[in-house]
Symmetry: C2
């Protein structure tokens, strides 16, 4: 890392954290822990700062990054975490609008030396496991600022960075908020009664990335893989019949799988994190693939091609004695993509990835200006932050 | 061009045509002139084939590209254009579904040696001028297959490739269909009475690309420029107050303009092709920019930030004695972007570009599976083609 790279997919920030844990020198990890008012990024947004003064990831659209680099130097020197508050309101308590969105409100940032205490988080993230990183911000003296523990929703366990059981931590009161934030990939500040004291922790939910599995190896596949990886999906390209050179042809893919249409259900782990786009351009291959995906109950099955083609597929299923219920068929999106009107390979890919993103986030595609609710969901465990928009 | 590059933005195919006109060797240009049934690409889709057997652009998702390379060799040798029909129906006149979407139906492809007769088209395209390339497919003998003329809707003139007036061509009957296809960037086959004969021409409308002007130089700008260029917008990044290194920081941008917020209306040509995203993160800069954009009547003004911020901007306008009507304000999209739910810089950019694409194509964002009408607009001048979907 020698040059700053502010705008990177989130998975790349986590990847960089993983790489730097094995690297030389001491990096500093900056994480937004709280936001009041409107801001470009949300709690949990991260930036990694190296000794050379370069950063990866962004916390604002450029308002605080330079300032943070200098605080980072101090943290690196002392080895102690710091919680820094940037108050960008004016004296009347109003947002300083001249500073603009992204530089508004009050932003609280935790800066800490990147140490081994963070490794379990990145390993879980890339291992497909949700995790919440729980960090002490304030306590009655029982903990120090920066003390850390992990919560894994799949096992319901609270684990110390060294892998041992986190005895002494209030696991009962932490389990619910930490589990929810981990599953949703959201972050927030949580205050809990802890004996007679109050314990305030920052819960940083790292949801393992969703997987986009693209079935097909045509020229139209690469734009989909490009856009999907930029949008933080882990992308698998599946080729049939000994398709060759796939790693070379789809360099953006995280994984290449070569299998046969009949073995899709066996050779891939299909679960509620699997978003699938079926674009083999071969009717029978598509049909076998769709059958496996519907059997596995994945949340999204995009099928390239006109509506009539899928109707014909349903007829073929029925002829084979297969019938799918409404719930299963509601996961099928065909023609695939949002209605953006573009016809080039990249425009088609843009509309596909936009649809996958909307479905994975439970959103109804429409203009944000038509949306009634706040853009960012309110994190329920956080009672003091306004729900900001952009 | 030494390696095939099938999936590229359309503007890159046209750029490649321009480059190759100045290059060595004879390239062959393949253009879809007609499609019956369902196909991945539409009439007007282009592929450029070089002597080395490499291609840029795609006509199908990979079904015919190899076949076309060999026909291309023949065309290069004879120097004569060829109109080739690929019938992928079976004997019963049904689509061979096993071949899948993208390889269905009947595709008619014009292959021609790329010569100077094509130069005016690419120059107009990059010069921001709509043009229709009119090519003879069949006539009563008055023209040869491949004979060519240009129609420019802005001047209503029909011009020969050598720049002279195209006398002898039926300009009156061509003007309407050619003008419409050029403005919409669509292509189709048109049959006209020509004396006692029938003249059948392929009209390939090349709409000059729309321009996306991004106001702002924050870290959040580059992902927008990346996605927008892939989606065939000509992208201009506008920086204020002597912002530096912009060309380096935004390598994907087609153009960098440094100006002041008050001079936006003067320093940029803002017209009905201008889509603007305002993301300076500075309230006053945004306000001055929005004012110029609304005065110019551009079709899309995306403004980063929450709804309340724009309401405050309207108050500031009113305090200055400026009031905008409903028609003007209907072009403002704030918060900017479609509701896809993502919060990373790339996800925000994806939602912005998706919105610009939808607005520029006159589409209502929604799942394609919810759309009642055919996905591809029917080209009215073409009476024999089904309106296909994907």
């Amino acid at each position: 890392m020698t040059q700053s790279n502010w705008s990177v997919p989130e998975t790349e920030v986590v990847q960089q954290i993983r790489d730097r844990l094995d690297g030389d020198g001491i990096d500093v990890l900056a994480t937004i822990v709280d936001v009041e008012g409107n801001a470009y990024r949300r709690p949990g947004a991260k930036m990694l700062l190296d000794e050379g003064g370069a950063g990866v990831g962004s916390i604002t659209a450029g308002c605080l990054e330079d300032e943070l680099l200098s605080v980072g130097d101090r943290v690196r020197e002392t080895g102690e975490p710091e919680l820094v508050t940037y108050d960008l309101m004016n004296d009347d308590g109003e947002d300083v609008w001249g500073l603009g969105v992204g530089c508004n409100g009050v932003i609280e940032v935790l800066l800490e030396p990147l140490t081994e205490t963070y490794r379990s988080a990145v390993e879980a993230f890339f291992g497909g496991r949700d995790v919440a990183v729980v960090t002490v911000l304030d306590s009655g003296g029982r903990f120090e600022q920066g003390d850390r523990v992990y919560y894994y929703p799949d096992t319901g366990s609270l684990v110390s960075p060294d892998g041992t059981d986190a005895s002494g931590w209030p696991v009962e009161s932490l389990a619910d908020p930490a589990g929810e934030l981990a599953a949703r990939g959201k972050a927030g500040t949580v205050s809990l009664p802890d004996g007679g004291d109050e314990l305030t922790v920052f819960v940083d939910g790292l949801a393992a990335p969703d997987e986009l599995v693209v079935f097909g190896t045509g020229h139209d596949v690469r734009p989909v893989t490009e856009f999907a990886t930029k949008n933080d999906f882990r992308v698998t390209v599946v080729g049939f019949r000994g398709a060759v050179d796939l790693a070379e042809r789809f360099p953006e893919a995280d994984r290449i799988v070569t299998t046969s249409p009949a073995a899709v259900g066996e050779d891939l782990e299909l679960d509620d994190r699997t978003y699938a786009v079926v674009m083999t351009h071969n009717f029978v291959d598509d049909q076998l693939t769709v059958e496996s995906l519907l059997d596995a109950g994945v949340p999204y099955v995009g099928v390239m091609g006109p509506r009539e083609r899928f109707e014909r597929m349903l007829e073929a299923f029925e002829a084979d004695g297969r019938k799918f219920g409404e719930a299963e068929l509601s996961t099928v999106y065909t023609p695939v993509g949002l209605d953006l009107g573009g016809g080039s390979p990249f425009q088609i890919a843009h509309s596909i990835v936009a649809e996958v993103l909307a479905v994975s986030n439970g959103r109804t595609p429409r203009h944000l200006k038509s949306r009634e609710e706040p853009i960012h969901e309110r994190v329920d465990v956080e009672s003091d932050a306004d729900p900001p928009a952009q």
